[in-house]
């Protein structure tokens, strides 16, 4: 089937493309689906200053073009499209686009990214593109010699305020905190504080954006006094945080209250064979380097999952009854228990197929049957668990296994 892939990655930002590099390099048939610009958040970043190894000036688009070329070199396919619906349980997983074909995948990596959070003040939606902007790279030039407000005080807010000031006559930065306190990195904050065309308004929030066809003024609320002040501006740039673009999977995988996907350290989500990487995941630091790392882990884990799943399918295919024996090289009891189980099994030829699973290396079946400790045995009858044994006693082990063999 042409539309069946080993790994389908949804999202072509840094995380998705890094996952592509690792998937492609492992000779897995890999597809990246991107709805907009390949390169994601980094695509509209003018300079990436802290991607290790790239200490000379590198722009976001240039770095992302390299990511893409790297993924394509390993045979990764790219397609344009927006996901309408996913079915992630079971195998294979199905991905339906708003337009175009339906895809199937053995595993899925969700690298969905984030989008700017809207503040929700009056005028924000109406004037989007008419003076309200979320992208200085795209729009700053339109405000040459104008007065512009920037709302927010994180890295993006202050770095972009300095960029906008290259064009604008004055940039008013509206900060919610007390004077001198910002959530931005120190280097960028210093540059912003010393900039002659930046003016900071402390303890304040944006209350309203006003205008006719385009923005003409803003109303700023002083949070200490409650006073409202109207100021004439030509534009407003909003940097009040990000939201994960996880709407399409919100009911399918576990997310936190803000919608970020919860993963384990292998980037695994709450659904078997489904991984998440990059900014859409609940994590501490959202940068190109951490997105790339997530992508690598996710694709590697997905590769292992596929391998295990194929093994499992072959294993259950020809046998009625299977004894799953979970062991670990670090657990001596489990090593001896497996040996014992093999002895007993040999006494009843053709009765039950014994399958040894190294818990240290393989996780899929352990997750499927919720096994945590080595030395656990599970009896499967046509893929359904009909007996579980977890013991550290050789006698119990022997009597239970013999009972299963003669059942």
């Amino acid at each position: 089937m042409d539309n069946l892939y080993d790994i389908i990655i949804i999202g072509g930002g840094a995380a998705g493309m890094a996952a592509g590099v690792y998937g492609g390099r492992s000779r897995l048939k890999t597809l990246i689906i991107e709805k907009g610009a390949v390169g994601g958040a980094a695509y509209s970043t003018r300079e990436i200053a802290n991607y290790p190894g790239f200490h000379a000036h590198v722009s976001g688009p240039a770095l992302m073009a390299d990511f893409r070329a790297h993924a394509e070199k390993f045979g990764v396919e790219f397609t344009r499209g927006e996901v309408r619906e996913l079915s992630l349980e079971g195998d294979p997983k199905t991905i339906r686009l708003k337009k175009g074909p339906e895809y199937q995948a053995k595993s899925v990596v969700l690298a969905l990214g984030t989008e700017p959070r809207l503040l929700g003040v009056p005028g924000e939606k109406e004037f989007r593109g008419m003076g309200v902007s979320y992208c200085a790279t795209c729009d700053a030039e339109n405000f040459t010699d104008c007065v512009v407000a920037v709302v927010g005080n994180g890295d993006a807010a202050l770095e972009e305020a300095v960029y906008i000031a290259k064009f604008a006559a004055k940039v008013i930065v509206i900060v919610i905190h007390d004077e001198g306190i910002v959530d931005c990195n120190k280097v960028s904050a210093e540059i912003a504080f010393q900039h002659p065309r930046l003016e900071f308004v402390w303890n304040s929030s944006l209350a309203e954006i006003k205008g006719d066809e385009d923005v003409s003024s803003i109303v700023v609320k002083n949070l200490k006094t409650g006073a409202l002040t109207e100021t004439a501006v030509d534009g407003v740039f909003m940097y009040v945080g990000l939201l994960p673009m996880t709407g399409v999977v919100r009911d399918l995988v576990e997310t936190d209250k803000n919608g970020y996907i919860i993963t384990g350290d292998k980037m695994e989500t709450s659904v078997s064979g489904v991984y998440a990487a990059g900014d859409c995941r609940q994590k501490y630091l959202r940068q190109v380097v951490t997105a790339a790392a997530d992508g690598a882990v996710a694709a590697h884990a997905a590769g292992h999952y596929i391998e295990e799943f194929e093994e499992y399918k072959t294993m259950v295919a020809g046998s009625d009854q299977i004894l799953l024996a979970f062991w670990s090289p670090m657990n001596e009891f489990s090593i001896n228990a497996i040996a014992k189980a093999e002895q007993i099994s040999a006494e009843y030829p053709g009765k039950i197929k014994l399958v040894k699973i190294d818990l240290y290396r393989k996780q899929m079946l352990a997750r499927k049957y919720n096994v945590q400790t080595p030395g656990t045995f599970i009896l499967l009858k046509r893929e359904t668990a009909c007996g579980t044994l977890s013991t550290d006693c050789y006698n119990t082990l022997e009597s239970t296994l013999r009972a299963w063999m003669t059942r």
Binding site: G36, A37, R46, G129, C135, C138, D139
Partner: protein
């Protein structure tokens, strides 16, 4: 490019002196919202070809043409009929909004 790219001269000929409805999308390379909106228009253009002409202006290549109009950002879509300005849409414009806008121009 499924949409005809314009410079200042062809803008004058096709839009200002043109007959019927047209839309022009002003876009730039490194704009991620444009990267979603422009392909949407490219897909829509053939379907609506008999009703509305679709044009494209790269604002970096055509800086002076871009400055002629009081646009505040990219992507911006301007609509014309028989050379007369009919309004604009801006930001993350959807296919439905474009269809409605074209239909609304009598």
């Amino acid at each position: 490019m499924a949409i005809t790219k314009l410079d200042a001269d062809s803008f004058e000929r096709n839009v200002i002196e043109g007959r019927g409805k047209c839309l022009i999308v002003f876009s730039r390379q490194n704009c991620h919202v444009c990267a979603e909106v422009v392909p949407m228009l490219e897909e829509l253009a053939p379907e609506l070809a008999s009703e509305c002409a679709f044009y494209y202006v790269d604002v970096e290549e055509q800086a002076s043409l871009y400055k002629t109009y009081p646009l505040k950002g990219v992507p911006s879509l301007m609509f014309f009929k028989d050379g007369d300005y009919q309004g604009k849409l801006a930001g993350p414009v959807t296919e439905e909004q474009v269809r409605e806008k074209i239909a609304a121009i009598g």
